[in-house]
């Protein structure tokens, strides 16, 4: 389904021009295979957020190439036409805070994405319930976001990221607001979901306790990534 996961080569991003131009990314290379969960770590100002925005098709890179599954997204100034549809159908997002829509119940928060893509309501809700069951929050399906615990909200957010079966999920500090036990639970879920749905997952994190769980880690510093093998201890 997801072909080659996500692959970027020589990705650059320059803000501004002339003397005041800032190179936030200076030729980033990265590849994440389907079913793989990798960590992306780096200090503040290293270019993590810029890379995440490029990967999430929110901003255009200045140069470089990006392939998602079998689809070319950017190639040296060229890009696919409809980034909005790309984000909706091919990229899943999990944020630091769950950012669930407060006026939709749990099921509809998850089902909203397929609905936006034109999937009939009942089918979208069926997909949502399936994922909620997989994430063990099906019993809160009719609850409103404010009625959920932090861990439950994050699981619902993961379900939302997965519901359109994207080839890649970008998780931005998904464990930041959680205690150790819940943070580990989230990482375990991400690993399970990556395996089950053959999805490439990139986890941006500062969280020391989850860094050892990754088998591969990308360090980013001054706009350049360095790949290294992680401890890969996984999650008990």
């Amino acid at each position: 389904m997801s072909g080659n996961g996500i692959r970027i080569e020589g990705l650059r991003k320059r803000y501004g021009s002339g003397d005041t131009a800032v190179d936030a990314l200076k030729g980033v290379d990265m590849q994440v295979a389907p079913g793989e969960v990798v960590g992306l770590i780096g200090p503040s100002g290293s270019g993590k957020s810029t890379l995440l925005k490029c990967l999430g098709a929110v901003i255009d890179p200045s140069a470089g190439r990006m392939t998602l599954g079998d689809e070319l997204i950017y190639d040296e100034g060229w890009r696919v036409r409809d980034l909005r549809a790309l984000r909706r159908d091919r990229i899943g997002f999990v944020f630091q805070a769950p950012y669930l829509i407060p006026f939709l119940d749990v099921t509809d928060n998850v089902a909203l994405l397929p609905m936006l893509a034109g999937v009939p309501n009942e089918e979208a809700r069926s997909r949502a319930l399936e994922l909620l069951s997989a994430l063990d929050v099906q019993h809160r399906a009719r609850a409103m976001p404010t009625e959920l615990s932090g861990g439950e909200q994050q699981r619902v957010a993961i379900a939302r990221g997965l519901v359109n079966r994207p080839p890649v999920i970008l998780a931005d500090e998904p464990t930041a607001p959680l205690d150790s036990e819940r943070a580990m639970a989230v990482i375990r879920i991400l690993n399970e979901m990556a395996q089950r749905y053959d999805t490439a997952i990139i986890v941006v994190t500062h969280d020391e306790k989850i860094i050892p769980t990754f088998k591969r880690i990308y360090h980013i510093r001054d706009g350049v990534t360095h790949e290294e093998a992680g401890a890969g201890r996984g999650v008990e």
Partner: protein, 401 residues
């Protein structure tokens, strides 16, 4: 696709209902203002309808008897009555004054009509809701129920007391003052009667004038004094025409041969609506514009605030691929919903509050429809600022950094 606007409204219904209630009161005031204008126009038309006249004959070059003073000799009606096509002609006087009942007084339009054999003539109240018409030549009155007078009440007009013998309804002046009908002679006296001191002073002045005290004309002074203490003038002659008679032709004949001014029904309506209440109408129009602007500003502010509260959710929605038009539709629908709630509250408020106003408030269905459409348009326009802001939200705002 689910309705995002509907879900948001259901989720925070209290905010919407209370805001809609406040907006509704404003819309209610707007509807009442429109109703006041309609009431003024209706009062003017009621005045013409209830007079039962086809032609108004008034002093030359005046807009009388309602918009300007007019004075005619009270025997002129006989010559008008003799014209072909004229079925009835009746003298009438109008004067607005305070009518007393015990310790209170009521602003009323006094209408002097010829009682007795001319019953049902132009100028008479066309129907009564209680009691009887005036049958005696003096000191009887028929009052509109809006005066609050009851049958048998003794009311004071100038120096005389009148017994209320009949009650009528919707007989009002163009200004909305309820009418009190009294015999013509009494009305003439009420209109022109001076107080005793003024009469005495006038007689003294006249008596010392050598022009009225000439040798060889012994009755001259008495005749002059008599003429000064009587009043033979009326404000207008109301004319009812035979079926099929042409008002314009008869009016032209009266203008030519009697040297008077004559107004037909459309002309009189134009005077009342186009001139007499024109300033009030402009005033109300200004208020309507101000209220519309205030309503728009309130809706814009509320929708803007509600949208600002959801800025993070909007960024997330955009990031996960929601179309701009879906987000714009959500905001627009919420603004429209607010308008609908406000209009419903305003319409109910105006309907129940209208009878409590001292002047007649006429809420017309077409005004409600126009008001509803205006509210929808205002809400749609007011939502544009919030929509513009929402569409400018960067989806990247959902991602940290």
């Amino acid at each position: 696709m689910i309705s995002l606007a509907g879900r948001d409204i259901l989720h925070s219904w209290g905010k919407f209902v209370f805001t809609g209630f406040g907006l509704g009161l404003l819309i209610g005031v707007t509807l009442v203002m429109a109703g006041v204008y309609r009431g003024m126009v209706d009062d003017a038309k009621a005045l013409l309808d209830n007079s039962g006249a086809d032609l108004w004959v008034v002093q030359q070059d005046t807009l009388g008897p309602y918009a300007e003073p007019s004075s005619l000799n009270d025997d002129l009606y006989r010559t008008i009555l003799a014209l072909p096509g004229v079925a009835e002609a009746a003298n009438v006087t109008y004067l607005t004054m305070q009518v007393r009942l015990d310790e209170r007084d009521v602003r009323s339009m006094i209408v002097g009509i010829v009682p007795g054999p001319t019953r049902g003539a132009p100028g008479w109240p066309p129907y009564l809701v209680a009691g009887r018409q005036i049958t005696r030549g003096h000191y009887e009155a028929v009052a509109d129920v809006a005066t609050g007078f009851q049958l048998g009440d003794r009311i004071g007009i100038r120096r005389n007391q009148y017994t209320v013998v009949g009650l009528t309804r919707r007989m009002v002046s163009s200004g909305g003052d309820p009418m009190v009908f009294i015999p013509l002679k009494d009305a003439q006296e009420a209109q022109f009667l001076k107080d005793n001191d003024a009469i005495w002073q006038s007689r003294r002045r006249t008596a010392t004038n050598p022009a009225f005290d000439r040798a060889g004309v012994p009755g001259l002074l008495d005749a002059v004094l008599d003429s000064q203490s009587s009043n033979n003038f009326v404000n207008a002659v109301l004319v009812r025409l035979d079926a099929g008679a042409e008002p314009d032709a008869i009016g032209a004949a009266i203008r030519r041969w009697q040297r008077l001014t004559v107004y037909t029904r459309p002309q009189m309506e134009q005077i009342l609506v186009g001139k007499l209440i024109a300033t009030s109408a402009k005033q109300i129009g200004m208020f309507l514009v101000i209220l519309a602007v205030v309503s728009a500003a309130i809706v814009a502010f509320i929708i803007y605030t509600l949208t600002m509260d959801k800025i993070r959710e909007i960024a997330v929605l955009k990031l996960i691929g929601t179309r701009n038009r879906t987000i714009a539709a959500m905001i627009l629908q919420q603004a429209i919903a607010l308008g609908v709630i406000g209009f419903a509250v305003g319409k109910i408020t105006a309907t129940y509050a209208a009878p409590l106003f001292p002047k007649y408030v006429l809420l017309m269905p077409q005004d409600s429809v126009a008001g509803f459409l205006a509210v929808l348009a205002i809400c749609a326009l007011a939502s544009l600022i919030a929509i513009r802001m929402a569409l400018r939200v960067d989806p990247a705002a959902a991602i940290g950094g």
